[in-house]
Amino acid sequence: MGITLLAGDTLQLVNINFPTIIFTLINTLIILLIYKIFLHKPVMKILEERKQKIGEEMKAAEDAQAAAEAMKTEYAEKLRESKEEAAQIVSAAVKRAGERENQIIAEAQQEAADMKKKAEESIELEKKKAINEIKDQISDIVIMASEKVCEKEISKTDNEALINKFIAEVGNE
């Protein structure tokens, strides 16, 4: 049994072979380029893109959140304002209603007063009318009675003057 270092058409087991060195350098360079072009660069590109996209999306999300916060405060402000406004409207309406109420009452009172005055006036008128009528009737009665008493007819003008005097006397009593 022996260990043969060179057998047939083979190189020595420990042998510096320049073509092998040169080809190995070239092959390593080619592998480096293949690795870099086909694997390293695309993966790095995709990782970078993903990083960028995530950054953008996170920024967008933050922006959206900030916008939402702003809107929230804005709406809260608006809500507060509208509540205030509503309260104002209600109080104004109440005030106006109160005013209107007073006005209506005043009008009604005025109207009632007017009506009362008118009624009084008409009553007065009626009264006067009635008194006049009564006066006329009395004068007629008096005439009739006088006719009966005198049994003669005195001239109407004398008569009336006489009667009016009498009535005035009666009226004064």
């Binding site: 049994m1 043969t4 057998a7 510096i16 073509p19 190995t24 092959n27 390593t28 990782l47 893109e49």
Partner: protein, 249 residues
């Protein structure tokens, strides 16, 4: 005690002798024989094996790296991202963020090339890494990277000055040290892979016709486990030599 005659008889009676051969001279290149000599003017089996490795890696990288989506679909993209992320992360961890971009692809490519080269034994081809010329070539790359880093970070004057530091009499040791690192790196990978081949061959030889199951289990260690460990050590050493050369680090 065996007499020389007995040893001779034993050798003659053996059905076959155990031999470990170097890589085949797969493609002779006669026109180079004036430059490299009769024996070395060839493309060796190691290079042919490397071509197989390169085809496998090229197809693998191409399939993994194409049609990547922002939202990963399927395991393919996850694997691709894991591979690239692993090597980038490993380089960043070992060498710092400054070297991540420049060394990530080289370390990734070298590791893939190295590990698949170590595993070629499983497919019945010769491990390219069991050839000192192959591991030597990678060590030459490391040496050039170290030299480049030293001059880039410390300047040429600083590089020259580093030879006489901490004391001038250290000059020879510093010079040896510069060459010893890549040589030891090359030898480590070469030795481990060659020993795998030698031990594998010895086991086959020893078991003879009973070579069932046992070689497979041992091959699992010497090819698979050792391949991963040695490739990992090789790229780690490359990175640590470069970062040690960085005067700024």
């Amino acid at each position: 005690m065996m007499t020389p005659e007995l040893i001779l008889m034993a050798e003659e009676s053996a059905a076959k002798t155990f031999t470990v051969e170097g890589p085949l001279r797969s493609i002779p290149l006669p026109f180079l024989k004036d430059i490299f000599g009769e024996e070395n003017a060839c493309i060796s089996e190691s290079i042919v094996s490397q071509w197989v490795v390169m085809i496998i890696l090229a197809v693998l990288f191409f399939i993994l790296g194409r049609n990547l989506k922002l939202k990963p679909e399927g395991k393919r993209q996850v694997i691709a991202e894991w591979i690239v992320g692993f090597f980038s992360g490993y380089v960043e961890e070992s060498m710092g963020t400054r070297y991540k971009r420049s060394y990530g692809p080289y370390i990734g490519a070298l590791f893939c090339f190295c590990i698949l080269s170590c595993l070629m034994g499983l497919f019945g081809l010769r491990n390219p890494t069991a050839d000192i010329s192959v591991t030597g070539a990678w060590a030459i790359i490391t040496f050039i990277l170290v030299l480049y880093t030293k001059i880039k970070t410390g300047g040429f004057k600083g590089y020259m000055k580093s030879f006489i530091e901490p004391m001038p009499f250290m000059l020879p040791f510093n010079i040896i040290g510069d060459f010893a690192n890549p040589i030891s790196q090359a030898m480590r990978l070469f030795g481990n892979n060659l020993s795998g081949i030698v031990i594998g061959g010895l086991i086959y030889y020893a078991l003879g016709s009973f070579a069932i199951a046992v070689p497979a289990v041992l091959s699992l260690y010497f090819d698979l486990f050792s391949a991963v460990i040695q490739s990992y050590i090789f790229v780690t050493l490359t990175m640590s030599y470069v970062i040690m050369a960085d005067a700024d680090a």
